[in-house]
């Protein structure tokens, strides 16, 4: 009986603790779903006093804010293509060629990647982009983001690549395929779920970037959404909550949509084969 009671107590604790955590995460989301439709939104979560779409109308009338969303798509899309392409090829190479100390190399790269996008590296990165005449260009932002995301991307992708039996490639080689054909016909299709995870992950990372765009981009017409959201602040620096929340909701939708699309089309499989799980 005592054992049973203790078991129940433990379960109760887990449930209550989960609810507590859930509460913290759900609250801001609930606010994001209610505030944009409220004429007088506050920082409290409450059902809209008067339901309205006016906030969205104001935002769609704001050319700067809408252009910023497109800028975000360019930056995130470019980063996604860059990271996915290079991380897949690099992961394939790292996985298939036996290089001495490649594990340490990968871990070091992952470690250093946090430096590339970290605050400490901002001055050298700005100087570098200045010399390359890439300041105030989307390409400059994309380069920095790709550089920062690549190591983690390679690390993530390597597990996917290593879960592919080598005999697939060898059988294609014996069938007469050239190495590039092996990659195109066999490796990439088999890797597709991993590539999708990587693409969504890098898109989301770039979509949410604030610091690098803030530093690299100068002209307002090129700014992405996370910076443009500041245009919904009053001159005194207080946010106009109705507009900020409506813009934030619009800003969040592509990411949610992307997740749903990939999940529906390919099904998410994070980590192709971390050793010991799901093999």
């Amino acid at each position: 009986m005592r054992v049973k009671a203790r078991k129940w107590g433990y379960k109760l604790f887990i449930v209550l603790f989960s609810l507590f955590i859930l509460f913290f995460f759900v609250l801001p989301l609930l606010w994001l779903l209610t505030a944009p439709f409220d004429t007088k939104a506050t920082l409290r979560v409450s059902l809209p006093s008067t339901f309205t779409f006016n906030n969205f109308r104001t935002i769609f009338a704001n050319a700067f804010a809408i252009r910023a969303l497109f800028n975000s798509i360019v930056i995130a899309g470019g980063t996604m293509v860059g990271v996915t392409l290079f991380a897949t090829l690099a992961a394939y190479a790292v996985s298939r060629l036996k290089i001495r100390g490649r594990d340490i190399l990968t871990y070091l790269l992952v470690l250093f990647s946090s430096v590339v996008q970290g605050t400490a590296a901002m001055v050298p990165i700005f100087l570098l982009l200045y010399r390359l005449k890439l300041v105030d260009t989307h390409l400059g932002v994309i380069f920095v983001l790709v550089g920062g995301l690549l190591p983690t991307g390679i690390f993530l992708m390597r597990d996917f690549v290593e879960s592919i039996p080598r005999s697939y490639e060898e059988s294609a080689l014996v069938s007469g395929a050239k190495p590039a054909q092996v990659l195109r016909h066999v490796v990439v299709p088999v890797l597709r779920p991993g590539i999708m995870v990587l693409a969504v992950w890098s898109f989301v990372q770039a979509w949410g970037d604030f610091l690098i765009s803030l530093i690299v981009i100068r002209s307002p017409t090129k700014m992405p959404a996370p910076i443009a959201i500041y245009s919904f602040y009053t001159e005194g620096g207080t946010p106009v909550l109705t507009l900020v929340s409506a813009y934030a909701l619009i800003y969040a939708l592509p990411v949610v949509g992307l997740y749903l699309f990939v999940n529906w089309r390919f099904g998410f499989r994070f980590f192709g084969g971390i050793k010991g799980s799901g093999r």
Binding site: E170, G176, V190
Partner: protein, 360 residues
């Protein structure tokens, strides 16, 4: 049109991985249309040898010829071989049709011809009604047939099989043996077949090359190897169960030669051997278990009796050695405890202390 006789030739080929010599100075001649099995325990270098022929590995030393052409420095795609892998390696994102068509697609054959050829091969292998399915939607045996179909669709000069039956269950494996052997004879394509299963090699191959620690230790027809193994390694590898081998030594006596084992001795009359350490070998079917001692008998203890239907497999202990005896009988033999083993002296083998056969 004169075409050079297609056959495979390995000239003192070696392959070294770091400090490990996987393949050690292997020389082989495989005739046209021959079914050749490479047999050996795991890690003996047989798969590496096959991969060397396929071009998936480059030899450290030696030359490889296929159909009279030196292919040593050619990549796998230019060697014109067909290979079936242990895990079949069917591409999971392609249907069986696409899988089988792949070697033809790479060779840029017109789609109509591809379809015709794939259907021809698939119907031959009895999988033509499964072509629209993905590999994950068919059984292991069907996957294996699809893998064979893919290997032969482009009519390669050589077939390479890397333990293709080891993932099948016992019943399917027996069926697949007969099926592959028949197919090979029908197509007449030179085939090299790697296996660790001696029964498979004996059942299917025209000739067998036994590999041990990177070397080919004997090449011959299945029956040659079975009857005249050159060494105790070959003897202990072939047969089911394999040959019994007991260590001992020879002592000369006035009327012959005496084999002194761990707990017994046998006098061989009219036979003369050098004195010294040797191994005595005999096949499980060439000994009889009896209740009383006789001239050529060895004292033993009965360990287990396994009824196998048509025969009984007896496991006995002779001193510290375990030996097997096959008994063909309708009734279950009634032995308990101490028994005697009667050898057929005309069917014994003697190996010297290096393991080389010295008798018969």
């Amino acid at each position: 049109m004169t075409r050079q006789k297609p056959h495979v030739q390995l000239c003192s080929v070696s392959k070294v991985f770091g400090k490990v010599i996987a393949v050690n100075d292997v020389t082989l001649d495989i005739d046209n249309t021959e079914f050749f099995a490479l047999l050996g325990p795991s890690g003996c270098g047989k798969t590496t040898t096959l991969r060397l022929i396929a071009g998936l590995e480059r030899p450290t030393k030696g030359r490889i010829f296929i159909a009279g052409r030196d292919v040593t420095d050619l990549p796998p795609q230019e060697r014109d071989v067909g290979m079936v892998f242990q895990d079949y390696a069917l591409y999971p994102h392609m249907t069986l049709f696409e899988n089988i068509a792949y070697p033809l697609r790479i060779r840029k054959m017109p789609p109509k011809q591809i379809a015709a050829r794939v259907h021809e091969v698939a119907s031959h292998l009895l999988i033509d009604d499964l072509l629209a399915r993905l590999p994950s939607q068919v059984s292991g045996g069907q996957q294996q047939r699809a893998a064979v179909a893919r290997a032969l669709v482009h009519a390669p000069k050589v077939f390479l099989f890397d333990e293709p039956l080891s993932n099948l269950d016992a019943k399917l494996r027996l069926e697949a043996r007969a099926f592959l052997k028949h197919l090979q004879k029908e197509l007449g394509v030179t085939t090299i077949y790697v296996t660790h299963d001696q029964a498979e090699a004996m059942a299917m191959a025209d000739r067998i090359g036994v590999m041990f620690e990177g070397r080919i230790i004997q090449v011959g027809t299945p029956l040659e190897l079975y009857r005249f193994p050159n060494s105790k390694e070959v003897a202990a590898f072939l047969g089911n169960p394999p040959m019994n081998i007991l260590p001992g030594c020879f002592k000369r006596s006035s009327n012959g030669c005496e084999f002194v084992g761990s707990v017994f001795s046998i006098l061989f009359e009219n036979l003369q051997f050098e004195e010294g350490d040797v191994y005595l070998g005999f096949r499980p079917e060439h000994a009889k278990v009896v209740n009383a001692p006789s001239k050529f008998s060895i004292p033993a203890r009965l360990h287990t009796i396994q009824p196998l239907g048509s025969e009984f497999l007896l496991t006995l202990e002779v001193g510290r050695d375990t030996i097997s005896v096959r008994m063909f009988s309708e009734e279950e033999p009634k032995f308990v405890g101490k028994v005697w083993l009667e050898l057929d002296v005309n069917k014994i083998y003697i190996f010297d202390k290096e393991g080389k056969r010295i008798f018969p």
